[in-house]
């Protein structure tokens, strides 16, 4: 979709990226920072997966009744891989956060900085 010559998909991706970045940088709570990171990553996935779409296209399933054009299968495979990577990073981050909370009793960066 491109009303006024602006591709709305790109606008949405850039907006998501910036929202995630703001959360990551400005929030003091570690869990919110992690959520921000996930939002940023989602924006890149959205960019990749929408880039494979095609006007009036079918999903890349070549079963009876499917008509060309087909959406490109590569971006979908890339995003599937990317999601698994992000899930793994998130799991490790969460278990580190659990450790930090168990030791310091807080998730606020401001308070963590004051402790030795």
């Amino acid at each position: 979709m491109a009303p006024f010559g602006v591709d709305l998909d790109y606008v949405a991706v850039a907006a998501l990226f910036c929202i995630g970045l703001y959360m990551l940088v400005a929030k003091s709570n570690l869990l919110k920072k992690l959520l921000g990171l996930n939002v940023m990553e989602t924006s890149v996935f959205a960019f990749i997966v929408t880039s494979g779409m095609v006007e009036g296209g079918d999903p890349p399933l070549l079963v009876a009744g499917a008509q060309p054009p087909f959406a490109s299968p590569i971006p979908q495979a890339m995003v599937l891989t990317g999601i698994v990577v992000v899930v793994s990073v998130t799991a490790v981050a969460l278990s580190l956060i659990v450790q930090i909370y168990a030791h310091y009793g807080t998730l606020e960066v401001d308070e963590l900085k004051e402790r030795p």
Binding site: E41, V44, I48, I74, V92, L96, Q99, Y104
Partner: protein, 497 residues
């Protein structure tokens, strides 16, 4: 009968991965065997990398099409003279793994031994894959294996502080990875391909410059963060100082180099495509390198914590490498490429020796470790050899590279960078002299330091081997430089600076 070594290329990655997957299985039966098992896997990998490097020296760069899908239609591995660094990489693991055994037994409960060695093998496999892949997306996935296992390895040693250092590392590392993925996605959208060589060929003059520049900037920033170039180094000092010493050696000596290898791959791509003004980029790189050298050395002077000092020293040394590539002169690029290996060796030596001192005495600051050379003469001697090497005094491994980088600065008519380099070397000299002075010429302040005993042989043998390598590599001199020379033209700007 000659072995078709190029057929073994994917196994250089698959071996450590399979070894890592089997480590927890083995640990469930008998945790004691995980260390020897990991060592065996590393040695098998070394055997493969030796064959690969021999093949590239003889026949030049070669590619391997995974699954038989050649070109852009599948994933291609590519082994060139830069990728040959996987040999010293795996060799260093062959020393670090036995060294780590004593640490693991003392500091970790048996239930975690398997996971620890699995992570070490995963770091190695990830770095090897990162160095040999010829595919942009594959590069990203391998980078994630390395990064993810590095984050965890930082945190294995302790609870609160270590987890916090690891989390800071994770956040910055994840943003860096995200930028690499964004750059990859942009290039893919613009060219429809993920193969490095194919992307370069398809980035013709009709492709829009704006997104190409963003992709280039995203990839370069990502790898500069991974390489901890000043001012993107903020994650490094804590993570490297707090991690257990064998892990610090892996992170500081080897993992930061994935950033450099990534940078080389990106520059190779854009060099071939001629799609961005590389001359300006090289100048910026040279500045970043020069600033890193001076700032890293400057910050290191004020550290009392031995490992923190070594961590800052890594920032300076990465600065040398980045400056070498940034000078865009053949001599400097050759020096920088070889310094990747030399710094890996020297920093591993220093971190392991520091680990040995800390392990035996329980102290980690220079003021506490004063006079330890009397009680632990061999470890202190290894430390001193490492210090002399990293400063770059003539008979050791560190000298030739820095000499080549300086020559490159004068060759490229950029004498100020040559002076920055010498100035940085002076700083580095100062703090390593301070370290040697504290270890050798001051009286012990703690009884435990005066009465410390030498480390057990499982730690001492790796240390002596590493120190000997520092000296031998210095005497060997030109061989690595001559080996990498044919490849550096691919990372210099077209038509010279």
């Amino acid at each position: 009968m000659s072995v078709a070594w190029e057929q073994l290329l994917p196994w250089a990655v698959a071996l450590p991965f399979v070894g890592a997957a089997l480590t927890p299985v083995l640990a469930a039966r008998s945790p004691r065997w995980t260390g020897p098992w990991a060592w065996g896997v590393v040695l098998a990998t070394v055997a493969v990398t030796v064959g690969l490097v021999a093949h590239v020296a003889e026949a030049g760069a070669f590619t391997y099409a995974i699954g038989g899908w050649s070109g852009a239609y599948g994933i291609e591995l590519r082994f060139d003279r830069f990728a040959a660094w996987v040999l010293p990489l795996s060799l260093l693991f062959a020393v670090i793994v036995p060294f780590s055994w004593r640490y693991v037994v003392v500091s970790l409960e048996p239930a975690r031994w398997g996971a620890f060695y699995a992570l070490l093998l995963l770091v190695m496999g990830g770095m090897i894959g990162f160095s040999i892949t010829g595919d942009l997306f594959n590069l990203f996935v391998f980078m994630e294996v390395t990064s993810l296992s590095s984050y965890a390895l930082v945190a294995v040693g302790g609870r609160g502080v270590a987890a916090w250092a690891a989390l800071k590392y994770l956040f910055l590392g994840a943003v860096a990875s995200l930028l690499a993925l964004l750059g990859t996605a942009l290039l893919f959208v613009l060219t429809g391909s993920l193969n490095l060589a194919d992307v370069a060929a398809r980035l013709g003059p009709d492709v829009a410059r704006g997104p190409v520049l963003i992709a280039f900037a995203a990839l370069v920033t990502s790898f500069l963060v991974k390489a901890a170039v000043f001012p993107l180094h903020v994650w490094l000092p804590d993570a490297h100082a707090i991690a257990p010493s064998p892990v610090s050696a892996v992170l500081s000596g080897l993992v930061v180099k994935t950033g450099i290898v990534g940078l080389v791959r990106v520059v190779q791509l854009f060099h071939a495509a001629d799609a961005v003004p590389l001359a300006g980029f090289h100048l910026a790189l040279a500045w970043l390198g020069a600033v890193s050298i001076v700032m890293g050395a400057f910050l290191a002077i004020f550290q009392d914590d031995l490992k923190l000092m070594l961590a800052y020293s890594t920032i300076s040394n990465v600065g040398y490498i980045v400056l070498g590539f940034g000078l865009a002169a053949p001599y400097a690029a050759v020096g920088a490429s070889v310094h990747v290996v030399n710094h890996a060796l020297i920093k591993t030596t220093l971190f392991l020796a520091a680990g040995a001192l800390i392990h035996q005495t329980g102290f980690r600051t220079l003021s506490d470790l004063r006079g330890v050379a009397r009680a632990m003469p061999q470890t202190a001697a290894v430390m001193a050899i490492g210090a002399v090497s990293i400063v770059g005094l003539p008979p050791t491994a560190g000298f030739l590279c820095k000499w080549y980088i300086a020559l490159g600065a004068f060759e490229a008519d950029r004498a100020p960078f040559g002076f920055a380099l010498v100035f940085g070397a002076l700083f580095i000299f100062v703090y390593y002299i301070r370290m040697v002075n504290a270890l050798y010429f001051q009286a012990p302040v703690h009884a435990r330091v005066a009465e410390a005993t030498e480390v057990p042989w499982s730690m001492r043998a790796p240390l002596l081997l590493l120190a000997a390598s520092c000296l031998v590599l210095g005497l060997l001199g030109g061989a690595p430089l001559a080996f990498v020379e044919p490849a550096v033209a691919g990372v210099l700007p077209v038509g010279g600076p």
